[in-house]
C-alpha cells in the first residue's frame, strides 16, 4: 500500500482483515496529507450530482459507518466519535434557499435511488435541530444519514486495528517510482531502497499522479485547498454538524467550507479566514465571542469532475490506484466492499464508473 492516509489505511485494514499480508508505506507528515487536515464530515447530501453511482457509493458507506465504528472500537478501544445525527447545510438568504432547493430537487431522483433522504427545512424546522442558529438563517437542507467523526482518532484506530490484523506500516517512506518487475512490481524509495510486491495499491493522494506517470499512466488529480479555523473549547451549542460549522464532543468548534485553486500551497489567508468567520458568526451568534486558537489549510485530492477514481489497467495486473476527496465519508466502504474488490472479489456495481475512462468524453461537473 503506497500511502498511509485515510484511504490507504482503510483499504489496508480491510485487506489485513481478509488475511492478506499488507505493508503500508507512509511518507508521513511531510506529505501534508488531507487525512489530518480535513473537516471530519460523514456527508451524503451534496454528493454525486452528475454521477448517481457516487451518490449510491457514498450512501452505502454512510450506512456501513455505524458498524465500522463499532468494530474499530471493539478492536482498538478507540472511539472515533462517529455520530449519525443528521447534517445541515444552512442558507442565509432567500436566494440561497432557492439555489439549494433547486439543487436538492436536481439530486432528488438519484438520492431516492441511493436511499438518501434530503429535505429542505424552514427556519423553525432548522431551529428545532439547531436552536443556536441566528435569525439570519432562512432555511437549510438536511439529511438524517449525515454525521461526523474525528479524523485523527479514525487514523489512529485504523493503524492500530490494521496492526492487530497483521498489517505492517513503515513511516518516512516516500515511493519515488514504481515499475513492473519479475513477480509483480518493483518500488523505488526516495533513499534508493528497492522493494518488490506481487500486488500494489497506490493511495498516495495527490502523489498518485507522479506514481502513475512513472508507470506511463495518466492519473488526473489536482489540489483544491480548504481552510479551517478551530476555536477554543466552548460550552456545547450545536448537536449536529453543518457543512460550515461543527462542534466536537470536546467543545472545539471547526469552521470552514472554502474551496480554492492555489496549487500546492497549503497556507492560510486572512481574507478566507475572515469570510469563514463572518459567515459562521452570521449563522451562530454565540461564535461572536469565540476565540480562534488555530487555523490551517489542507489540500483536497480532486479529480477533474470531483468524483473518485478507483483505477486498474489491463496491462498492469494486480495494481490499483485510488483517489477521492472524501476519505472520512468513504472509509467504511473502503475497508469493506472496496477491499473485497481489491482482494479479488466482485467489484461493487457502484464503482464501475470510477475510472479515468470517464474523462475521455465530456461529462457533468461535480458540485
Amino acid at each position: 500500500m503506497v500511502g498511509g492516509g485515510l484511504v490507504g489505511l482503510a483499504v489496508a485494514y480491510g485487506l489485513a482483515r481478509r488475511g492478506r499480508s499488507v505493508l503500508v508505506l507512509d511518507e508521513g507528515d511531510e506529505a501534508r496529507p488531507a487525512s489530518v487536515g480535513n473537516f471530519g464530515l460523514v456527508w451524503t447530501q451534496s454528493k454525486g450530482l452528475g454521477l448517481p453511482a457516487y451518490s449510491a457509493w457514498t450512501a452505502r458507506s454512510a450506512r456501513l459507518w455505524t458498524d465500522f465504528a463499532a468494530t474499530l472500537a471493539a478492536e482498538t478501544g478507540i472511539d472515533v466519535r462517529y455520530r449519525q445525527v443528521g447534517g445541515l447545510h444552512l442558507c442565509l438568504n432567500e436566494a440561497e434557499v432557492e439555489a439549494r432547493t433547486r439543487f436538492v430537487a436536481q439530486m432528488q431522483s438519484q438520492m431516492v435511488t441511493a436511499g438518501v433522504r434530503v429535505e429542505m427545512l424552514d427556519r423553525a424546522q432548522t431551529r428545532d435541530l439547531a436552536p443556536a442558529i441566528s435569525n439570519a438563517v432562512v432555511g437549510a437542507s438536511w439529511s438524517p444519514l449525515d454525521g461526523d467523526a474525528n479524523p485523527l482518532f479514525l487514523m489512529r484506530s485504523l493503524i492500530e486495528a490494521g496492526q492487530t490484523q497483521g498489517m505492517r506500516r513503515r513511516t518516512r517512506q516516500r515511493v519515488a517510482a514504481i515499475r513492473p518487475g519479475d513477480a509483480g512490481y518493483e518500488l523505488e524509495l526516495h533513499d534508493g531502497t528497492r522493494l518488490s510486491a506481487a500486488r500494489v495499491v497506490l493511495a498516495a493522494g495527490l502523489g498518485n499522479a507522479v506514481l502513475a506517470a512513472s508507470l506511463g499512466k495518466s492519473f488526473p488529480v489536482r489540489p483544491e485547498r480548504g481552510q479551517i479555523l478551530v476555536t477554543r473549547r466552548m460550552p456545547r451549542f450545536l448537536g449536529l454538524p453543518t457543512s460550515l460549522v461543527r462542534q466536537t464532543d470536546e467543545g472545539s468548534v471547526l469552521l470552514g467550507d472554502s474551496k480554492e485553486d492555489v496549487g500546492f500551497d497549503y497556507g492560510t489567508t486572512p481574507e478566507i479566514g475572515a469570510r469563514i468567520a463572518a459567515r459562521s458568526i452570521a449563522s451562530f451568534p454565540v461564535l461572536r465571542t469565540a476565540t480562534v486558537v488555530r487555523s490551517w489549510g489542507a489540500l483536497r485530492v480532486m479529480s477533474p469532475d470531483g468524483f473518485p477514481i478507483y483505477q486498474t489497467w489491463p496491462d498492469l495486473p494486480g495494481l490499483w490506484a485510488l483517489a477521492c476527496h472524501s476519505g472520512v465519508t468513504l472509509a467504511a466502504a473502503h475497508a469493506g466492499p472496496l477491499a473485497d474488490a481489491i482482494d479479488g472479489g466482485a467489484a461493487p456495481a457502484e464503482i464501475s464508473q470510477f475510472t479515468t475512462g470517464r474523462f475521455d468524453v465530456p461529462s457533468a461537473r461535480a458540485v
Binding site: 477554543r232 473549547r233 460550552p235 464532543d249 470536546e250 454565540v286 465571542t289 476565540t291
Partner: protein, 99 residues
C-alpha cells in the same frame, strides 16, 4: 505536586504575581504555567463541556488546556506567557454573550 528541579538563574529577578487573589512568588523568565504549577496550582480552568478541572498538559503551546485570564484578558496560554511582576491571573471562564 511539582518542584523546581534546578536553581533559577541568579540573574533573574524575583517577581510577584496573583492567582485568584493569592500572592505567589515567581522567578522572572519562567512561564506562567511553570510558576503556577510550582506554587501548587494545578487547576487553571474548567472544561466548558463537562465542568471537569483542567490544567497544563503539553506545556508547549499546542493543547490549549492551560488557558487563564491575565489582567482581565481571557483565553491566554499560561505555558506561552512569561511571568511579569504584578500579573493578576484568574481561572479562565467562558461567559456566553460576553463582548
Amino acid at each position: 505536586m511539582f518542584r523546581r528541579r534546578a536553581q533559577s538563574d541568579p540573574g533573574l529577578p524575583p517577581v510577584s504575581i496573583r492567582f485568584e487573589g493569592r500572592t505567589i512568588a515567581a522567578t522572572g523568565g519562567e512561564t506562567l504555567a511553570a510558576a503556577l504549577l510550582a506554587a501548587g496550582e494545578e487547576v487553571f480552568r474548567a472544561s466548558p463541556v463537562s465542568g471537569a478541572p483542567r490544567g497544563p498538559f503539553c506545556l508547549m503551546g499546542a493543547c490549549f488546556e492551560c488557558l487563564v485570564e491575565i489582567d482581565g484578558m481571557p483565553g491566554q496560554q499560561a505555558c506561552m506567557t512569561i511571568v511579569r511582576d504584578g500579573m493578576d491571573i484568574r481561572r479562565d471562564r467562558i461567559v456566553e454573550g460576553e463582548e
